[in-house]
Symmetry: C2
Subunit: 467 residues, 2 copies
């Protein structure tokens, strides 16, 4: 024990010393004893170690000092420039939606719902139960916990109409979040260098994952009603693509929900092209005025590869999603997942399953629907009043975002900075376009902290637009 | 609530119906009421839904039956064959080390320590605490929880000799397990199509990750003392590779630990080649008769990219590892991680940090060392007594495995099957070779369940070898 505290003090003081100027005086033994809640013997042992390491000099009766001879040479990693091969595709370190807003700011840029929208009580109870169970010490099978596979299969099966064979639990692969699933699906089903059709605009994380997988993205314009089936058919024909990534329900960022008619026409186009529809049902739990029906319920021939995440609705800390796919496609995705991360944490799977099978989960989802509706409407009203020049493209029937078209010629980056300086974080629309942005857009997320500040946020946006 | 129970019953009965023959009789309403603890009204509502869906027929006074006209056509996913592009590299769905041995079997094939070797009490307490804290509802920054970054940096810094600048917390990227880290490192630093030197034999998961990243693997022979520096230098020169993946301490599968002299020579070769050493310190917590010193402690110029995992020593359910890298290399890895999975679950990070900062953790590691030693020695003695023809290549000073050279001409696959039939699971050595196996090897893991059966396991292996 003594040994450990002493090395902890050594490590800590090393850090302090490395930042301190040569000759700086160290705190007294007495104050170190107090700071580390350690015995004087332990502290003295640490000081001896630092002396032996040549980092400090002790002058009895005077004090202990950072050694003068220490050289603080700057480190040069220039050689890496030659060692690192050029990247075929570059992607930025992190999306603006992952930034943490400064305290007190009005944050409408983020992609994750505020804590008050999460089933906090259910999550804590589920994790506490899981901590007591086998899952805490368990290595999950590669495709996931059988009970959780079954839950995802049953959810989709319950919405599957008669005449279509519902998915079985073994069609399900549990994922550590849907982002990892997208990477795997693109790598496994599209493969590097091959074309992939994507709605435009579309989810920024999918654009990133496509870049990482090295697939060639071909944008298909998609509006408030989804893509035009004819345009999609032509894109399949011209590109020879065999896959289309889309969000038929409450698309991020536009909030679009495809009509049943569009859905069935798109599915026909996909079938005719002998292709996959990669359906990202990210907002399955975020219906506001409608209830989403996945396109996957219309297919039992393995055309639809369905991704469904619980991360945003259960907790960002419980990163659990699933992909449901049939046939050889499923085997390829599983092989890629195994090479990527072997298996998914059992404790997260057990906790996710616990949350979604509690009666309180349905109650929570009903309350969430009300809250999202109130937030959405408040933000829409605030914008209409304070930022009338920002054109709402579509009143979303679900999801977490408003997608606004700004007046032509708006300098988006300057606008975003200007709002940020005034304490309002918004996200420039360019992040959601796989190619050139079709115009000046911003995305406002209405699920962040402090919805009471929406009028103020809209006012600041309106002022920035007017200036 | 009524609505939910009724859809739950519908979903459940759909599953039952899909498995039942046409015309089968459904349980009575009364028994369904009892089974689902639902009201008769709810059950009747579910039955009506199933009737509307065309799945059942009600014959009043007789009962309810699975509809006769239902077609159960077999699904054909043949079209996918044309849609799926050829894969550049094929990898199998899962390694033999991920198989779950049948109950009662002697399992020496697995890669994960048995539950009795895990700090169960610490893990459960840490998860319970984390369930109450902020981490349960928290989205972690992309590079990880600051406190956990700091812990990993401090651990390495404490072993860094004077004159070498220790890593700082910002050099650390937290990973959801080291497998994901390997994929990212190979993709980011080596890039597809480019050469990567690897010890041979080496960790099977790294071979998989290299295949997935599409890098070209060049094996460098490595024995009980590590690779020959001259041979390594020639391999760098001939291939133009700029990276070498290695396990200097307790390599999986051989158990080799490089001598300080080999370590410093290898590092010189790597420096001279202007290359990266990707140091996989997977067994940092599994020293038996020595204490491992990472090569990363000898480098502050960004040559060593260091991976350190807690998954196997803390719990397979707490999948947490870290990569420590400096300079542009670190930025590239972080960008790849962000595209792969955005961030790591906060609850797993908080729990891992909690476990490794408890005083009980050091106590646990000391006990673990004793247990591993006893298990290793028991297995070695058992093999000497019962399977003398299996040649132990090296008494490992740490790690979890013995690496055995079998007599020339041994048909390994047959041997493995024969042992399996007799209830002993062992792993064929071929999985650990990036190219052709250098001979007939098997790996025996001594950290699995039921070490008391080691003598019996050795006897069965000996008999199989003799037959």
């Amino acid at each position: 024990m003594d040994n450990d505290s002493s090395s902890r003090i050594v490590a800590d003081l090393r850090e302090w010393i490395s930042a301190a100027p040569s000759g700086a005086k160290l705190p007294s033994t007495r104050s170190l004893v107090a700071r580390y809640e350690a015995s004087p013997v332990t502290v003295q042992k640490a000081m001896r170690a630092l002396t032996v390491q040549g980092l400090i000099d002790s002058r009895p009766g005077v004090g202990t000092f950072v050694r003068m001879t220490r050289t603080a040479r700057p480190l040069d990693y220039g050689w890496q420039t030659a060692a690192l091969r050029p990247l075929h595709t570059r992607f930025s370190t992190s999306s603006s939606t992952m930034r943490t807003g400064t305290h007190g700011a009005i944050a409408m840029h983020a992609g994750y719902p505020d804590r008050e929208l999460l089933p906090e009580r259910l999550v804590r109870a589920a994790l506490t139960r899981a901590a007591r169970g086998d899952a805490a010490l368990f290595r999950s099978p590669a495709s996931g916990l059988a009970e959780l596979q079954s839950w995802f299969a049953t959810e989709l099966a319950a919405a599957t109409p008669i005449g279509i064979t519902p998915p079985s639990p073994s069609d399900v692969i549990i994922l550590p979040g849907s982002q990892s699933g997208l990477s795997s699906i693109f790598r496994a089903l599209v493969t590097a260098g091959q074309p992939l059709l994507m709605e435009s605009p579309t989810y920024g994380g999918a654009i990133l994952a496509a870049a990482q997988a090295g697939v060639q993205v071909i944008p298909v314009p998609s509006g408030p009603n989804g893509p035009e089936p004819d345009v999609l058919a032509r894109a399949f024909e011209e590109s020879g693509a065999r896959a289309f990534y889309a969000q038929p329900n409450y698309a991020n960022p536009t909030g679009a929900q495809w009509s049943p008619d569009t859905a069935s026409q798109v599915l026909n186009v996909v079938r005719a092209a002998g292709a996959f529809l990669i359906e990202d049902d990210w907002a399955h739990d975020f219906g506001i005025t409608t209830t989403p029906t996945p396109l996957a319920t219309q297919d039992d021939a393995g055309h639809v590869v369905y991704i469904r995440s619980l991360t945003k609705s259960v907790s960002p800390s419980i990163r659990i999603a699933a992909v449901i796919a049939r046939g050889p496609a499923r085997e390829r995705i599983l092989a890629d997942r195994s090479a990527s991360s072997m298996y998914v944490s059992g404790i997260l799977q057990a906790a996710a399953l616990d949350v979604v099978t509690q009666p309180g989960w349905q109650t929570h989802l009903r309350g969430l629907r009300q809250q999202l509706r109130a937030r959405r409407d408040l933000l829409i009203d605030s914008l209409q009043e304070h930022a009338p020049r920002a054109h709402l493209t579509n009143i979303p029937a679900g999801g977490l975002n408003l997608w606004l078209r700004l007046p032509d010629g708006t300098a988006i980056d300057r606008l975003v900075r200007q709002c940020e300086d005034a304490g309002v974080f918004i996200a420039a629309g360019s992040e959601w376009f796989p190619a050139e942005p079709a115009g000046p857009f911003v995305r406002l997320n209405f699920s962040g902290a402090n919805p009471g500040a929406f009028p103020e946020g809209a006012r600041i946006l309106g002022q920035a637009l007017d200036s």
